[in-house]
Structure formats: C-alpha cells, structure tokens
Symmetry: C2
Subunit: 363 residues, 2 copies
C-alpha cells in the first residue's frame, strides 16, 4: 500500500502534562519544500479521527482528508509553503498511542498509556517541527480538535508561529459537548468486547464503536442538512440486514448512519478513540494562566484567522466569538468569518466552496 508517512523518534523521555512516554514516535506527512530561510513551514493539526494524510502526493496518490485545501495552487499552496501534517500523539496511524507497543513491556500500552492532553499533541507536533530544523513557522492551522491543539501550540511555544488559523474550535469544551463525548466513550466501554481495554485486536468492541460513531455523525452535521438530504425518505430494502429485528432500519437517515459507522469501525482503535475524545473534554485554555485572558497574555502571534459555522452546535458561534474577543483584547489582528454552511461542525470537510476562498485569502 502506498505510504507517504515519515517518522521522527523522540529519544529518551517525553514529559507529558500528566505523565511521560519513553521513545515515542510521531508520524507526519509533508508537501512542498522548506525554503532556505526555513520560514515557510505550515503545521497542520487534525481533528480526532484523521491521519496525517491530509492530501495526496507522489508517495501516496490517494485523496487526503483535506485534499481540496492542501496542494499546488490550492488555498494552502504547496508551491509556496512546506506543509507538515502530524498524526496526533495518542492516535493509531503511525504515532505512539494506546495501541502502540510499550518498549518497557513489549506489550501494547492500552489503558497504561498516560492521560492524554491536547497540550501533549501540540508538543509532539513541535518536536516534528524542531527535528525538521524549523524555528519559525509561517502558520499553525487546525480544525476542530486540531484547532484546540493549534491554540495550545501557540500558547505553549510563543513566537514559533507568525499566524494561527482556528477552524470550528474553542478555548475549552462546553458541558454539552463533554456530555456527548462522555456518552460516546461509555458506549464503547459498555460493549462487552471492550474488556476494560484488553480487547482482542481481531474482536474489537465494534458495536460500541459503531454507536459512538453514529452519535458523532449526528453531532457533526446539522438538522437542517438532514431535512434537505433525507426528509422522511424510507430506506431501500438493501439497507435491511438478515439479522435485523423488528426495530431495524426504516428511514434513509438510519441507513446512511449505519453504512458510515460500519466503515469507521475497521479503521480506528477503540482505546485511541477514548484517549483522544477525553483529551478534548480536558482542554481548557484557562489552565494556561487561570483565565482565558491571562492565558492569552503569553501569546506572541502576528495575525489570526477564526472560522466558525452557523449550524455547528458542537463548537457554536458564541465560542468562536469568545476566541475572537480574546485575541482582540490582546490587539492581535484577527479576522473572523462565520460561514452560513448547513453541514454543521463537519463543514470544513465538505463545504469546500465556502472554506477555500477564506483560507486562500488569509494565506
């Protein structure tokens, strides 16, 4: 299988916010060339589930998760910028995470992996940047969880990046989104196959993962989009399964969720999901100074772009405004765009006609 991943090894002990790791690996992909001044780097953090494969390349021609955004002549133009996308620490696409082998025991970490914070994901991204010989980044970019990670990076390493692009993100998780993610985690933990994290790799807690993914999809989109796409359309007979009981699929929207949830289960490790999901809940900018305002005193960045989406109820407009107000308080030039996309939190992945020009203008 084509693979564009590169890796850095972090020698010795990596001190995390609530623990430590020995000999961690971070996977990343890159596009474009680092210039001789080494100041054209763009560091991209991902949402919870994507890998570092943001865009296609010669090494891996398959479409990436942000294919429309990253590439030659695209809004994040790889003929001008050296773009680095990291697989999050704690994930399962090449970087060290709960599914990786603990060198101290020769067995997977599973729940012995330390509590993960988005600050640790940001730190791992910075290690990649440093090993690539980059002292100053042109920009740090992140959507969703990646936006929180990008903000953490900007707070933790003041002066490293000139610009920050925060997409459908927030200074902290609200109790509403914590409740939803907590329930997703519980669905996985209550699957008998989860076995307190000691599941057989060939018999993972697939049902729990499917339920969690369905709830995720419901919260990533908007009611309006689904009314337009599905209405009260009934599912075709193909959607019914032999093992369906009387309460199986009736409506097209149920069939859609089922198909997408099934796809996800094979591709993501359950324990990694739990760790990354909780890391989002734990994130709170106020931890960096007692309040958002005092945390932002540490910021050293020239220019910020905040993008939100009207129909996003997971990272709602008022959270975007809170971010913008905090940057404004520091007199940091901040552009704020609230897009009327109807695809909710996921708009940055699908409503490319609206997102492309905003990102292109900023770059």
């Amino acid at each position: 299988m084509p693979d564009a991943r590169q890796y850095i090894e972090i020698e010795g002990t990596l001190a995390l916010r609530r623990g430590q790791l020995v000999s961690a690996t971070i996977a990343y992909e890159s596009w474009g060339e680092l210039n001789t001044a080494k100041d054209n780097g763009v560091l991209l953090f991902t949402g919870l589930s994507p890998s570092a494969h943001a865009a296609s390349s010669n090494e891996d021609p398959s479409s990436g998760w942000w294919e429309d955004m990253v590439g030659p002549e695209k809004p994040i133009d790889t003929t001008r910028y050296f773009v680095v996308c990291v697989n999050s620490l704690g994930s399962c696409f090449g970087s060290t995470g709960p599914a990786s082998i603990n060198p101290a025991t020769g067995k997977p970490y599973r729940l012995t992996f330390p509590v993960l914070c988005l600050e640790d994901v940001a730190l791992a991204g910075q290690k990649v940047v440093e090993q690539l010989g980059i002292e100053h980044l042109h920009a740090v970019v992140g959507p969703s969880m990646g936006g929180m990670t990008a903000l953490a990076h900007t707070l933790m390493f003041p002066g490293v990046t000139k610009q920050l692009v925060s997409i459908s993100s927030a200074t902290h998780s609200l109790p509403f989104s914590i409740a939803l993610r907590s329930l997703q985690r519980e669905m996985i933990r209550k699957d008998p196959l989860w076995q307190r994290g000691q599941y057989d790799i060939n018999a993972p807690p697939a049902q729990g993962m499917q339920l969690a993914r369905k709830l995720g999809m419901i919260t990533y989109r908007s009611a309006q989009e689904w009314s337009i796409r599905f209405g009260r359309e009934r599912a075709t007979d193909d959607a019914h399964h032999e093992d369906d009981d009387a309460f199986g699929i009736t409506f097209e929207v149920e069939s859609y969720l089922e198909a997408h949830a099934k796809k996800f289960v094979g591709s993501f490790d359950a324990n990694c999901y739990l760790y990354l999901s909780r890391a989002m809940d734990l994130f709170d900018t106020a931890d960096h100074g007692g309040s958002v305002t005092s945390a932002f005193q540490h910021l050293h960045v020239d220019r910020v772009l905040v993008i939100g989406v009207q129909s996003d109820f997971l990272f709602p407009a008022h959270q975007q405004e809170e971010l913008v107000n905090a940057f404004n308080k520091r007199n940091i030039p901040t552009e704020y765009v609230l897009l009327p996309s109807i695809q909710g939190h996921d708009s940055f992945l699908v409503d490319m006609d609206r997102f492309r020009p905003v990102i292109a203008d900023f770059f």
Copy 2:
C-alpha cells in the same frame, strides 16, 4: 402504595393502524368533576415516559409530572374542568403494552405487540373519553409526544374537541430527531441482555436503557442551560464508583447524567420504550391526507394554542411555525407563543413560571 389509576376495558378487538389488540386495557387518572352538560372534559396526553399521574389527588397524594399545571386554581383548573390523563397505549403504567400479558397466549406480548402508531394512542384516549360518556371535550392537551398524539386525536375525531393545546410538538418527526431516537433504540437492542426482547424481567437491558436515557436527557435540555448549571465543574469523589475504569466520571455533568439515568432504568420497560420511541418517528400528519394542508382540511376545532421553546432543538421553532401556519391556513384562531426558556425540550416540565401563565390565559 397509593394508586389513583382507573381503567377501562376495551371489549373485543381494537383495530390499530397496523394491527389489532384483543381485550386492551387503558389506565387513566382524573381530577375534578364532569359537569351535567358533560362539556368540561380536558383530555391530556403525555410525553414518552410519564404515567397518567399528572397531578396529586386524595387517592395518590404524590406529586405528578405536571403538578404545577393541573389542580384546583391551577392553570388547568380542576374546580372548573374534569381532567383526564391517559397512560399511553404501549406504555407500562397500567395500559396494555408490550410488557402486558397477551390473553391469547398467557405470556407477555414483547415483540409480538403490533407496530404502534401515535394514532393508536389517540384512539385509546378517545375510548376512555367515550366510556366516561363524554361526547365533546373542552380541550385536548399534549406536550412533546403527547402533542403529536393530541394532534392525531383532533384529526381523527373532528368535532370532538373544541380546543387544542400543542406544546413543543410537531406535524412530523425530522430526520435529525429520528436519527437520535433510532440510536437510542439501538443502544437498547445492542445490550446483550435485551435478547431480542425476550429479556428476563429481573435482568433487563439496564446498560442500554441507561445509555438511551442519557442521550435523551442530552437532547431534552439545552447547551446553554448546562453551561450555566455545570460549566466545567469537576464531580465530587462520591460520584466515582468502585467499578469505574480510567474513563469514569470526571465532570459534574457526567455525574448528573449518571444519577438520572440510573433512576429511569428501574421504572420503564425496555420494549415499551422501543415501541413508543418508534411511534414518534413514524408520526406524520401528511399520512392523514397526502400533505399537512390536506390533512388539516379534516380539522374541526374552534381554537388552538401552540407553544414552543427557543432552545428546543428536538422540536425546533420552525416546526412550531409550520403548525401555526397550517392552522392559520384553515382560519382557525391560533395563538402562538415561543418561550425564551433555556431548558430546551423539557422546559414544559421545569420552567413553570413561563408556562403557567400561557396555559392559564388560554383556559
């Protein structure tokens, strides 16, 4: 235990929309006295989970689910009106449902219970009214699922009620709410103890029910309310259980959901929940005439009150407006009140200071 329930027996066969029942029982409670003209009856349909115990009485002095609304000198004034609240057909608080004994087999119906529609729940309510000798009702009232049932009743029995009060309801279920309820049902069905509905009554699918209840509570309230109530407050140590794994309760909002979900599990039958939940998905006014407009041609009602709540994302404001527009098209005098309550869909149960005057004024 004090019990104010009364019962009607429906002799012979009750034809449902998609099946039939033999010798069905309907439980109800009543408050006040039927006047000699027999025209002061108010029929109250409930949401998915409550019993017929809407208010306290001499027979059962415990608080009812709408204690603030129904009683002497209360907005639905039982010194003036004879109020009847029915336990929904398909529920488990006295009316025939999937947990009841099928007289033909001597065993509980479980999944052999016919597909339930809200029209059947409305029909069962009408049977109670008829057996009480009431030909004309002063009003039919219903919140949430009860609002859909009240609307079904008004469509199916034109001229029986003079007035209709629809609270946080809709002409049909949207794909967004269908997706959420479908997922709740799946959580129960995927619980290994569900056993395709053949669970041991002493070992019900409690985990699935708890998950479903938590998702219910998340969707019944609003993000704004939880930000105010819980913020990012951490749970006290008391909230942690011995069997917690590393992903147990951290935040107060998680502890709150856990406590309330546990309470629900002992009180509601899982199969009944599945049937009533699906009945909401299936409800569509357009089934009564091809479209809402043509269905409403059958309406024969003098006056309507539609109440909605701004923060309700399960039965959102635009669905209230759709109802109001449909009544207006028929030139039926319709009052519309959209309340600024922050408690979401559940506001009619908790924001009584806002709901009481609106209902009182209408009556």
